[in-house]
């Protein structure tokens, strides 16, 4: 199982079968399938959440997945429950799951959204957010997916960045603070609606 690390994601399914047909009985680590399948209980079938609050995790980049798990584990990132769950997995197991979820497609659940606010949010996104959260927040190299992510989760995350529960890099903090100073709570609401409206 440990050997999966060096195998390109696209080949993983085929190659793994060969390893497992040789020997699984002595393996000390559960298959990535076994490790990852319980995540669906909260994060949805195939990592696509139907909400109302738990985020989708399929299609997150490996780097972002690993950073989230590592910071939950260390306590740097505060969560309600993930800090307790993340500690249940070794680095090796976490890496395997990161690779797996990164190979899957980010799925978007249809959410209620306000078209007027979403339109305003689209403009604000272009002005303040797009330089990091490219392609309407859908592209996410090493950062979270915003476009189509569960709205309540985005609300929580933004609130945590502003309250200091989650820390921001200097450049990001400047942008976020400038955005809030200029557009306040209504502006935040609008960009969240824009992300939630994406199909």
């Amino acid at each position: 199982m440990l050997r999966i690390k060096s195998i390109p994601a696209a080949l993983a399914v085929g190659v793994l079968a060969i390893f497992t047909s040789i020997n699984t009985a002595s393996a000390e680590m559960a298959s990535v399938q076994t490790l990852a399948s319980p995540c669906a209980g909260c994060h949805g079938v195939n990592g696509v959440s139907v909400g109302p609050a738990t985020p989708s995790i399929a299609g997150l980049t490996e780097a972002y997945f690993l950073d989230s798990m590592a910071t939950y584990k260390s306590g740097k990132r505060k969560g309600t429950i993930m800090s307790r769950i993340a500690k249940g997995y070794t680095d090796e197991e976490t890496k395997a799951m990161a690779k797996l979820f990164a190979s899957m497609k980010f799925g978007r659940t249809t959410q209620m959204s306000d078209a007027g606010l979403a339109a305003k949010g689209k403009e604000l996104h272009a002005e303040f957010c797009d330089s990091c959260h490219e392609q309407d927040g859908r592209k996410a190299d090493g950062i979270g997916v915003l476009g189509g992510q569960i709205a309540a989760y985005l609300d929580y995350t933004i609130a945590d960045f502003y309250s200091g529960v989650r820390t921001m890099e200097k450049r990001k903090a400047q942008k976020m603070n400038a955005f809030k100073a200029e557009h306040g709570a209504d502006g935040i609401k609008a960009v969240v609606q824009f992300y939630a409206s994406q199909k």
């Binding site: 699984t24 298959s31 399938q33 995540c39 139907v50 909400g51 738990t54 429950i81 899957m104």
Partner: protein, 436 residues
């Protein structure tokens, strides 16, 4: 349509998996040929049985899966306390078996009356017989009615246990709603082990939550068969905050076994609960009896002296008879609690293990998760979580050390509110994961 769905779900599982079982079904034609005619019969369509059925089909479509369940509609026990607390509808906790059918599961509405574990056959009330290579028994719980005078299955229709969600859930909700202000609801909480350890205390909380809005002079009194209970610190904290717990105006009172002695009788006509040291007249009685494995587990010889089903923890195969796997509440899955999430997590693993065994392979290494949310007020919930690994030497499924545990006592009000929303997310997602 059915075909398309199957293909999509199968492919998605491949993405999720990359594991042995899934892969062997995908690439090796010989494996599929060998797998053909492999019959798995599943007894019970609750979280454990339904999850196992869906995942068996996703992992290896050459496995023929028959699931036998007595009811056409299933009501989840999880979230049923929200129905009793007037926070959601019965409809919202119901599910059909259409999702399983479109996953290629042969769903039979019938009741299993016996299992011939030597001939490997399952017999039903409807007079049918089903042969299996492997049988998965997930019958949930039954009640030890015999321990209490004046209480039986018939009485339970009016003095409910509501510990299997369904008509009794609706009855209890109605009784609480119909009660005059100033009335007492008595919840009798069962001894360990039982389904959903925090459940009676969440129920008390959500009934009090309802009373606070509509019948402020009323109260809930818990008669407990134990001296401590699950998430006690968190519940007590919430009860003090919202329901005056410990004061003269408490809307929730908790009486431990030390003060009550044994709970001896229910006097249905007088609406009285009688214990060694107390007698309580209540407007509504919710009596949750001591529990044991579902009936079929006894008929099939799967239980031990404890009244539950011992299993080999690697595959959940019965320690009593071969080729029969017992999962969910009926099994002794120490130290996993009897919960919906445990059942779901076990169902996924056992599906993988059974596919491996049917294809002559070793089952590999398991990993489980349990998360359980309890809601104590409109904007107040907390959770317990654990990641479980198997200790083969001790035949024990233990929580990973340093991980898991309870929501902190000093969590912010915002976090408690978020846990309400995360609890609902858990419900929506796991329900879809189980029944499609």
């Amino acid at each position: 349509m059915t075909k398309v769905n199957q293909n999509v779900s199968r492919r998605s599982f491949m993405q999720l998996s990359g594991g042995a079982a899934a892969a062997s079904a995908l690439i090796g034609l010989p494996t599929i040929a060998r797998g053909a005619g492999k019959d798995v019969v599943i007894v019970g369509g609750g979280p454990a049985g339904a999850t196992a059925a869906r995942y068996l089909r996703m992992i290896d479509p050459s496995v023929k899966v028959t699931l036998i369940e007595a009811n056409a509609t299933y009501h989840t026990c999880f979230m049923s306390n929200e129905v009793i607390g007037d926070l959601r509808t019965m409809e919202s906790i119901s599910t059909t078996y259409d999702g399983l059918k479109s996953a290629g599961v042969n769903v039979v509405q019938d009741m299993v009356t016996s299992i011939d574990t030597k001939a490997k056959k399952v017999m039903t009330k409807g007079g049918n017989t089903y042969s299996y290579e492997r049988c998965i028994v997930a019958p949930g719980i039954d009640f030890k009615y015999e321990l209490t005078d004046g209480y039986d299955a018939k009485t339970a229709e009016t003095i409910t246990h509501a510990w299997k969600a369904g008509p009794q859930t609706a009855t209890l909700a109605k009784q609480v709603k119909a009660m005059d202000d100033g009335g007492v609801v008595c919840i009798v909480a069962p001894p360990n082990p039982f389904r959903c350890p925090p459940g009676p205390y969440e129920r008390a909380s959500l009934i009090a939550n309802y009373m606070k809005k509509h019948k402020p002079k009323s109260k809930v009194i818990i008669f407990d068969s134990k001296d401590k209970f699950s998430k006690q610190g968190l519940f007590t904290q919430a009860w003090k905050k919202f329901y005056g717990f410990g004061t003269d105006n408490a809307m929730i009172e908790w009486m431990p076994a030390a003060k009550l002695g044994k709970i001896n009788a229910i006097h249905a006509k007088d609406m009285v609960v009688e214990t060694d040291f107390e007698q309580l007249k209540a407007a509504v009685i919710n009596f949750i009896p001591a529990q044991k494995a579902g009936k079929i587990a006894f008929a099939a010889g799967l239980t031990d002296k404890s009244g539950w089903c011992p299993v080999k923890k690697l595959t959940f195969e019965s320690s009593m008879v071969p080729n029969v796997h017992v999962l969910g509440d009926a099994s002794i899955a120490t130290k996993m609690p009897k919960s919906g999430y445990s059942a779901n997590s076990q169902g996924k693993w056992v599906a993988q293990a059974v596919v491996a065994l049917l294809n002559g392979k070793q089952p590999g290494v398991p990993s489980f998760v349990n998360t359980c949310y309890s809601r104590a007020a409109d904007d107040w919930a907390f959770s317990v979580a654990a990641v479980y690994k198997l200790n083969m030497e001790k035949n024990l499924i233990g929580g990973v050390k340093g991980a898991g545990g309870l929501s902190p006592m000093d969590a912010s009000a915002e976090d408690r509110k978020r846990e309400v929303a995360y609890g609902h997310s858990w419900y929506n997602n796991i329900k879809k994961d189980i029944w499609g």
